[in-house]
């Protein structure tokens, strides 16, 4: 595995990410290389990105006001303490006074203000941070190391938001020198690694930040990272990614196929870790506005027809679990009650279809008034899973027509309301994400791309989603999200199938690889030779 003493490679591949670590003669200095699968790595500006793959790199170059471990537990980050006003509108942060950006300028309250103000500036073109910042109103510099962030209404998810990679604090000097576009190509933050170079479609190199002395307390190490150099390589092809990992060219790979994960686990050749991603599981919306899924009995029958536990274990060999609720079990405010719904029961599915008037036809497809029980299922993500769903539903008399589509075709079908079901998945740290796929104002229309693809709308659900967003206490928040999840389950509009999983395989000589909050990105700070 180790080709020579000076060079140990570490591959991080979530979609194709790997890291190669170089150990210098003294074992305290390490080089890491990463690989990334996205051909269109576009910006490394945390304020602009909306891509979990770009964040894979960003997370190692920046810090946030509040640090969070992979379980979402909060620790002092760039802020040593914070205080929330009783009306929930003002968040006051005491900041560290010993932090410098990679360009040598001092981190202070003004940097926080400039970062947040620029996120909401339309010229920045923020694609993720602006939504995460919610009802942001302004920031006030109270003193050099004290800042107050104001919201225009109570924002229950604010503390979580301040831990998100998108709200990383950037160097005002670098932003001023480079402009929005230039900054995204050569970012400057306060994180444990500094940007070095970017070879388009090939690799991004980072180097150790020797001044780093502000690691959050949940990290094992302190001071600068043991990793000297960190290289992220783009290897889109799964087989090549795994081959480069096995040949020792890279040390860590992400998005390793479950079959290879199993092979590495049984041979011990490489170590593996898998993370259950928080947010929306891999799920299907059932369209309640057109077609056969307008009938709730048909929707419920579809749910009952699927053996999600078996299907997931067949497809993922134990590296992902079946999911049952609208948010994954790793997401805060997840409701355990979800798991009592729609356990596999083919007999019940058939009974529901009979009740709804669908009689079994001669060719194994149910019919009613001369119509067949046909379901149009355009599939953008995971065709294997779509086909497995098709096979199960077919057993109880559904005729599911799976069409593997590209994004552009999917958009067209969404605008035209021309589908019976559609799949989605999404990484998010907060149940607040539910407002986007379930509020009635987010039902798509021609020319208006929105995410409520089941097109379900009741004032009751809308109200609950709005109230939950500005809930005052954690108990109220949990209770409101429980009610929301219950409605979604009762109405059978959103069929969770399996948890999203990030599969990592790495060189067994390394340790200290940690998932960032959300369980997708990897923090390379603690990586070291065993």
């Amino acid at each position: 595995m180790v080709k020579n003493n000076r060079l140990i490679r570490l591959i991080l591949g979530v979609a194709t990410l790997f890291v190669s670590l170089t150990f210098l003669n003294n074992a305290s200095a390490v080089d890491v290389v990463f690989a990334e699968d996205r051909p269109d790595l576009r910006t490394l500006d945390p304020r602009i990105t909306q891509s979990r793959h770009e964040e894979m790199l960003i997370v190692n170059m920046f810090d946030q006001l509040i640090a969070a471990d992979s379980n979402g537990n909060m620790y002092p980050g760039l802020a040593t303490s914070w205080d929330v006003s009783s009306d929930g509108l003002h968040y006051t942060f005491e900041l560290r006074d010993d932090v410098t950006f990679h360009d040598g300028t001092k981190f202070n309250a003004a940097a926080v203000k400039i970062t947040f103000d620029s996120i909401v500036d339309p010229e920045t073109g923020s694609q993720g941070a602006i939504d995460i910042l919610g009802p942001y109103a302004s920031s006030e510099v109270i003193s050099e190391y004290k800042v107050r962030v104001n919201f225009s209404r109570r924002y229950g998810s604010a503390l979580t938001a301040f831990t998100e990679t998108e709200l990383s604090i950037i160097s005002p000097k670098a932003l001023n020198d480079l402009g929005n576009e230039g900054f995204g190509m050569a970012p400057v933050g306060t994180g444990p690694f500094m940007f070095k170079s970017w070879e388009a479609n090939k690799k991004v190199e980072m180097v150790n930040n020797p001044d780093y002395n502000w690691a959050p307390e949940y990290m094992d190490g302190s001071g600068p990272s043991k990793v000297e150099n960190l290289t992220y390589r783009l290897i889109k092809d799964t087989s090549t990614r795994v081959a480069a990992l096995e040949s020792g060219e890279v040390d860590i790979a992400e998005l390793v196929p479950p079959l290879d994960m199993r092979r590495f686990d049984s041979s011990g050749e490489l170590n593996t870790i898998a993370g259950i991603v928080s947010g929306l599981p891999y799920s299907a919306f059932l369209n309640t506005s057109v077609g056969h899924f307008q009938d709730i009995k048909v929707r419920q029958a579809f749910f009952y027809s699927l053996n999600r536990v078996k299907m997931t274990s067949d497809l993922f060999f134990g590296y992902a679990e079946a999911a049952f609720g609208p948010i994954s079990s790793a997401t805060p405010s997840y409701w355990k009650g979800n798991e009592g719904y729609y356990q596999y029961d083919a007999a019940k599915a058939e009974a529901l279809l009979e009740e709804a008037g669908w009689k079994m036809g001669s060719n194994g497809v149910r019919e009613k008034n001369g119509e067949t029980l046909s379901i149009f299922f355009p599939c953008l993500l995971e065709p294997d899973t779509c086909v497995a769903i098709q096979a199960y539903a077919n057993k109880v008399g559904f005729d599911v027509n799976v069409e593997v589509v590209m994004k552009a075709r999917q958009d067209e079908l969404i605008f035209a309301n021309g589908y019976d079901m559609m799949v989605i998945r999404w990484v998010s740290l907060d149940p607040g994400v539910l407002i986007i796929p379930f509020h009635s104002r987010n039902i798509p229309a021609p020319g208006k791309f929105k995410f409520n693809w089941s097109r379900y709308s009741t004032p009751e659900l809308d109200q609950l989603l709005e109230d939950a967003e500005s809930a005052e206490t954690q108990e109220t928040k949990d209770d409101l999200y429980m009610q929301i999840q219950k409605i979604i389950m009762d109405q059978a509009i959103f069929l969770a199938i399996h948890d999203q999983v990030q599969t990592i395989a790495y060189n067994p000589n390394l340790e200290g690889i940690k998932f960032a909050n959300g369980n997708w990105q990897l923090r390379m700070y603690d990586v070291r030779e065993k």
């Binding site: 923020s126 479609n201 092809d237 090549t240």
Partner: protein
């Protein structure tokens, strides 16, 4: 002079027509660049409007078309929707890896292809001929993702002789062989048939009857004359390579123009597609000129004919 000038003048209408076709096609096919850019991630209306405005997509189609044409004549091909970088910078960044791979593939392909072609053509219907033609057929018909994976498995993972994805010259070997095999297949078949043809000519028979050695006949008398058809093929195939070998680039995780174009089309990145069309048109025209010029080098009669007209 006339000959070259005529070729160059064709460039202008060719570019104009291809740009217009690209612009119309990309505007007709479904998919909103803003959605494609956001990659399906939920985003608020505010975000969508900001992105649309920043890309200039809030302007009418006609206005976008004419402002593109005007800027293009000034040499400004615009900025990519996806990365906001000037498209010319993006093409430059991806051009070098593509040129390296093309030259690597060309060297391997010509050497190996001509070798197989001569082996086969010198003694038709022999064992050597059959073997060489089977290899050539494999080169042409086996998909490059399969050949690539096989080479990675044998020489990268199992034997560990060459890096799979690394940097530098050694990392160029496997991808060059992958594209070169396809190249070699076509070259070998054409060299063979052309050589057989030439070897049946009267002047070869004369040479043979005078007792010239077989080696000398092939390399001194037949080879040059047999190379005209393969050189034409070479031009076409090199043109294909230099505009990007998508699958080989993907298998070996190499950047390149093929990847760039594929991505640009899938994400409706109109400025980038248009700029790549300019590049490809230019490359084909240039290669045609080179091929024409090479004919003259190989066969002095063509050179003299051109002078005469």
């Amino acid at each position: 002079m006339n000959f070259f000038l005529k070729k160059l003048l064709i460039v202008i209408p060719t570019l104009y027509i291809s740009w217009t076709v690209v612009f119309i096609t990309l505007n007709i096919i479904p998919g909103d660049p803003v959605n494609l850019m956001l990659g399906g991630r939920p985003a608020s209306d505010e975000v969508r409007e900001n992105v649309r405005h920043n890309l200039g997509l809030d302007k009418p189609v006609v206005e976008r078309y004419f402002s593109f044409l005007i800027n293009a004549t000034k040499g400004d091909l615009g900025k990519s929707y996806l990365t906001r970088q000037p498209v010319t910078t993006m093409i430059k960044e991806n051009m070098m890896p593509t040129i390296q791979l093309s030259i690597g593939g060309l060297i391997f392909g010509v050497f190996f292809g001509v070798l197989l072609g001569i082996t086969a053509g010198a003694k038709p219907n022999s064992w050597g001929d059959t073997f060489a033609m089977i290899v050539a057929l494999c080169g042409i018909s086996l998909p490059s993702f399969w050949i690539g994976m096989l080479l990675i498995f044998i020489f990268g993972t199992t034997l560990g002789w060459v890096p799979i994805v690394g940097d530098g010259f050694t990392a160029l070997i496997l991808p060059s062989v992958t594209v070169g095999l396809f190249f070699a297949g076509g070259m070998a078949r054409l060299t063979r048939s052309s050589l057989i043809d030439v070897l049946n000519q009267d002047y070869i028979r004369t040479a043979r009857s005078k007792g010239t050695s077989k080696f000398k006949i092939i390399f001194k008398h037949a080879f040059r004359n047999a190379m005209i058809p393969p050189v034409t093929l070479l031009g076409i195939q090199f043109g294909l390579l230099i505009t990007g070998a998508v699958i080989t680039e993907e298998v070996f995780a190499r950047p390149g123009l093929g990847q760039l174009l594929l991505q640009a089309i899938l994400s409706k990145d109109i400025p980038l597609v248009q700029a790549l069309i300019v590049y490809m048109t230019a490359v084909y025209i240039f290669l045609n000129l080179v091929v024409d010029f090479t004919y003259g080098l190989i066969d002095p009669r063509i050179r003299l004919e051109r002078k005469a007209t």
